[in-house]
Amino acid sequence: MRRLSFLVIVAALALLPVLWPDPYLLSVVAAAGIMIIAAISLNLLLGFTGQLSLGHAAFFGIGAYTSALLSLGFDVDLGFSSPLVVAPKPVWVAFAGGIVMASLFGWLLGKVAFRVRGAYFVIVTISFAQVMRMVALNWVDLTEGPMALVSIPPLSLWVPGEGVVRLVSKASTYWLVLAAGVLAYVIVANLVRSRIGRAAIALRENEVLAKSIGIPVTRCLIVFSVLSAGIAGAAGGLYAHTVRIIDPDVFLFIYTITMVIMVIAGGKGTLAGPVVGGLIFGLLPEMLRGVVAPEVQWMIYGALMILILLFMPKGIVPAFGGLLKRGRISVRRPSATQGASS
């Protein structure tokens, strides 16, 4: 039954470009979709392992930059006798490279950051994203710094009867993002129902107890960190090849916060939460555009975040999810899950 409703929703979303072929609408939804994929990846850490990672934009940015640079080709002087020259790679290879690179950094950050918990963990993840932003800004030879990377090639796909198609039209971008989003959703859904997923939920609820029954806590957290970073990297790659211009602003703290708001508002630790929260906070800016100044829009974001945390701390999906109760795999979270140290 649940699988059926999932397929119906996906089919309805897939038909949107046919039923409502408005390029503006499609591009807005596709942009929201990329952020939803990022939010889904953040939910792996924030929702299922209970670790508030506030450096998530870094993985998005690393995926975007790696994928863009590999597809454009680059040469960089690393201080050896000859500079490192990389010829442009096929776009899909570059895209995969972005995912691999983001996962590697997810592993690295996991190794460092999971030595600590709570406030320390949060500050380490923020610092990591800030260092990445500084590198993107200042390593001009490689990243072009604030001048941005431009003319990034789009992804292309072989379609029967049409040959190789460059995915540049609004509808094809939309379908691409939708396909990636569904894939990310399915991966996460299967992951959290797997053995390691249940282990992660156990350690979220009580880390000491989880450890005592033999869950390898740190290893479990690092696996989640790698997967989460990889999916965020894929979202970054999609961003790079659909928007086709990136600058160091992709590392800004405010993008991490956007992802966090999406997850918290929708309901952390639920599968549908990031999607629901992502649709609301992905489309809200477009509705507010022209009505209020961007600063006011951000102030509304901040106020909404505070209100949701104060009055609906579990998020929209659990609050309105009584009817769909069977779809929930989140366990009610006691307030005292802090304090467990590594």
């Binding site: 460092v112 406030a119 500050i123 380490v124 610092s127 901040g302």
Partner: protein, 290 residues
């Protein structure tokens, strides 16, 4: 050698203000277990108060300094009273996110009110530098150093010698025990948040004539304050004061001898290095929280 001493002096001046910023943040964390992401925004708030009073209303700079501290106290106390009081028992992550919400609102309010263009606050001191033994020091910076040291000492006296400080330290050690002996913990929280915010605001007002005032200055200040507090160990006040000087000196010498472009990255690298080597902070005697 002169170069070295010059950097040492510059780093010390900056360090005194970093120390002020750091102890405000660490005080709030130590007593309330709140990671105050809006700390840098209160610093920016102080700078904008100085700008509004001195540049726009032609007020005396010293009066503006005192008003910045007072308004910072009021604003901080109101944030505590209106928001944090409702969620004291919630977990630390949720409080962190609420403070991020406050940060976003404050920063964009500044942007809305004053625009993105950097503002200049005129200094009441003469422009030409004093030269002592080949080291240049502008009177403004000298005043900043003096004022910061006076404030650090005053803060130390309040914490160590006053009844309020005693109640704060008692709450820090054991909230329930403090309540039993008659400490009004709610009021201590409000005063703690107000005092920490006031320190941030007066630091912003002190530095406003040295640097320029921009809406994004709070971001960097917040993150530097975190670096300082991590260096000293979260909740460790003496550690934060030392951490302030340490970070400023590391930045100053790092910028001078390694790379200016990565000056602001140094604080974050310090955080990462401390986390790898000594997660409880360099100067920590108390156990860490978290």
């Amino acid at each position: 050698m002169d170069q070295f001493l010059q950097h040492l002096v510059n780093g010390t001046v900056l360090g005194a203000t970093y120390a002020l910023l750091g102890i405000g943040l660490t005080l709030i964390f130590g007593i309330m277990k709140v990671v105050n992401f809006a700390h840098g925004e209160l610093y920016a708030f102080g700078a904008y108060v100085a700008y509004a009073l001195v540049s726009l209303l032609q007020m005396d700079y010293f009066v503006a300094l005192i008003l910045a501290a007072g308004l910072g106290l009021l604003l901080g106390a109101s944030i505590e009273f209106l928001l944090l009081r409702r969620c004291r028992l919630e977990n630390i992550d949720e409080v962190m996110l609420i403070m991020i919400g406050v940060m976003i609102i404050m920063q964009n309010a500044e942007l809305l009110a004053w625009g993105g263009v950097a503002k200049v606050v005129p200094t009441p001191f003469p422009q030409e530098s004093i030269i002592i033994g080949g080291i240049y020091l502008s009177p403004t910076r000298l005043f900043v150093l003096g004022a910061a040291i006076v404030l650090l000492l005053a803060f130390y006296l309040v914490i160590e010698r006053s009844r309020l400080g005693l109640a704060m330290r008692a709450t820090f050690q054991d909230e329930d025990a403090a309540r039993i002996v008659g400490v009004n913990v709610g009021r201590i929280y409000t005063l703690t948040f107000g005092l920490g915010s006031s320190l941030a605001a007066i630091t912003g007002a002190l530095l406003a004539p040295v640097f320029v005032v921009t809406p994004t200055m709070g971001d960097l200040a917040s993150l530097k304050a975190f670096a300082i507090v991590i260096l000293g160990g979260l909740g460790n006040i003496r550690g934060a004061a030392l951490g302030g000087f340490a970070l400023a000196l590391i930045e100053e010498f790092g910028a001078a001898y390694i790379s200016t472009a990565y000056r602001d990255a140094i604080g974050f690298l310090v955080i990462l290095a401390v986390m790898i080597a000594r997660p409880q902070g360099l100067f920590a005697a108390r156990e860490r929280v978290g």
